[in-house]
Symmetry: C2
Subunit: 324 residues, 2 copies
């Protein structure tokens, strides 16, 4: 129509044309009252409260083009934001996406990035409602902001865990970290672990479900299970006591750890990027299906223990290496 070949570099096309091009066909669901193309978008919610979170990914630091294709990078970038929304107990509704692109990058790369972002949104019923693109002399920068709808639920904070609560985990944990180990040792399989690194599979519905039954605190695991649970412990002024016997060591982790002669618990305890959810529940509450108990909340001052011992990421290696 406009004679632009999608293998052409971004440099040849104006900002407005590029946004139109990469968002063509991204028609939104009904709650998007005003979508792309105006000064701002308008998103309908079920109530007068909006959840908002933002996350920025920088090429070479958070992703590599030689490592992941643009659709995978889009899925990961969107998942990181959507997981933060569900970790508040909200339903993700809308994403806005700003991207800085080197001028020599192909238009099709940006299109596929947006396709990955939009596809990840669709899995949770959310939509891309706005965006901005700009050129850069540096590497690619992707900045996403996600909006969520609490649908009448109370937001679940990091600070609400109470002594006696059950600590429970939903979603895959340690898979992405194991995938990174696999790749960094030069292997390309098990494919399921490598794929877990490229495209996380957060337990999106578990967040709002946890909020509905009365979770007292919740967080999504992006930096590491213990590292992120420590934020809950610190914000709540408690200690979280994890039990290694309760932690899920899924079959692909077990098999790969055996082949590598390592302890798979290290991936489970220190791995990030799976965007699993950890929530605390009062002892009389049954956690929703998908959650499994991994420990309990005890009196303390912001620590995380594993089998009763304070866990530090460095010491953890030795401790669990020797006991595994």
């Amino acid at each position: 129509m406009d004679g632009i070949d999608d293998n052409n570099p971004v440099a040849g096309i104006g900002e407005f044309a590029l946004i139109d091009r990469i968002t063509a066909g991204l028609a939104g669901p009904g709650f998007v009252e005003v979508g792309l193309g105006d000064d701002a978008a308008v998103v309908g919610l079920t109530g007068p409260r909006v959840v908002v979170t933002t996350d920025m990914l920088v090429e070479g630091r958070h992703f590599r083009r030689s490592w992941s294709g643009p659709e995978d990078i889009g899925h990961r970038a969107a998942a990181a934001n959507l997981a933060d929304v569900v970790a508040m107990g909200a339903d993700p509704r809308a994403l806005v996406v700003a991207v800085a692109l080197p001028s020599q990058i192909e238009i099709s790369w940006a299109q596929h990035l947006l396709v990955g972002i939009a596809d990840e949104c669709r899995t949770v019923g959310a939509a891309v409602v706005g965006g901005d693109t700009t050129e850069t002399d540096g590497g690619i920068v992707i900045s996403i902001t996600a909006l969520g709808d609490l649908a009448g639920r109370k937001p679940v904070l990091r600070s609400g865990a109470r002594v006696g609560d059950v600590v429970a985990l939903a979603g895959r944990q340690g898979w992405a970290s194991a995938g990174l180990t696999v790749l960094s040792r030069g292997f390309r399989s098990p494919r399921v672990l490598v794929d877990a690194l490229r495209r996380p599979d957060p337990p999106y519905t578990s967040g709002p479900e946890a909020a509905s039954v009365g979770a007292t605190s919740m967080i999504d695991v992006s930096d590491g299970l213990v590292a992120d649970v420590r934020h809950v412990a610190a914000a709540s002024g408690v200690t979280v006591a994890l039990a290694s016997s309760l932690l899920p060591v899924d079959a692909p982790l077990k098999d790969t750890a055996t082949a590598f002669s390592t302890n798979p618990l290290v991936w489970v305890l220190t791995g990030g990027d799976d965007h699993s959810l950890v929530a605390t529940f009062p002892p009389d509450v049954e956690p929703p299906v998908g959650f499994r108990r991994i420990g309990e909340v005890v009196a303390g001052d912001g620590q995380v223990t594993v089998d009763g011992e304070p866990f530090t990421e460095l010491g953890g290696w030795q401790h669990f290496g020797s006991s595994g």
Copy 2:
């Protein structure tokens, strides 16, 4: 407290510590139900609709550190987003800010950037409610997303202008462009124009006021008066007929144009970055105080005319140069 000297580079401080540091003291107003420090923020609105817009600024393209200080850059970055919110007829409520910073930049630079952003927010009763910081090997990238509250008003789109409507302008127009001319010719005054380039002064309250009285379309001028009005004309399927005799040529523009022997209308017609607002009103509606009539909507197909002639940015120079 943590022994970090603010003249130290960003590289020495972790992501969480940096966010805490640069947002210290940014306590939000009451509608911020959950602010910084959780997986996401929660913002209270007056109704179940949220306005959202995003804008990304790249060093060397949208700003230069040698040209503007970090507080000015913060004011400009925030103003660009806040103006998009008011151009929908909404009240700005919350900003989230993601920043990629070179590792050698001082912590105090980032702090002052955030101070500028937060101060600009305060002028409209909005607050910074979330953020993300990351390091980059490239230049600084600032990505801001703004949320607004329609407070029961209908969003004012670009597509609603109708034949017979009055076209009106609120806010300074051409000042930033004149400031750029001043600086690029090696002058540092008139200070008021140079300052207009560094810190825009958008007519924030005029947007919601225009929506309240029934504006049929609205846009904020970021790329140029004619260029942005053309978006309204195209989206509405009309022609916007501007009259040069109605355009405001404020005293600093007049004086500087005389000194430079140029026509100040060129700044008014082609200048961006002031974030003035252009709205259309039905002929029986009195535009709010602060708006002045600059033209009318006539039948047509997406054109902008000035004094009856189609205006192109290039041709415009000659046309108004000769008639000025």
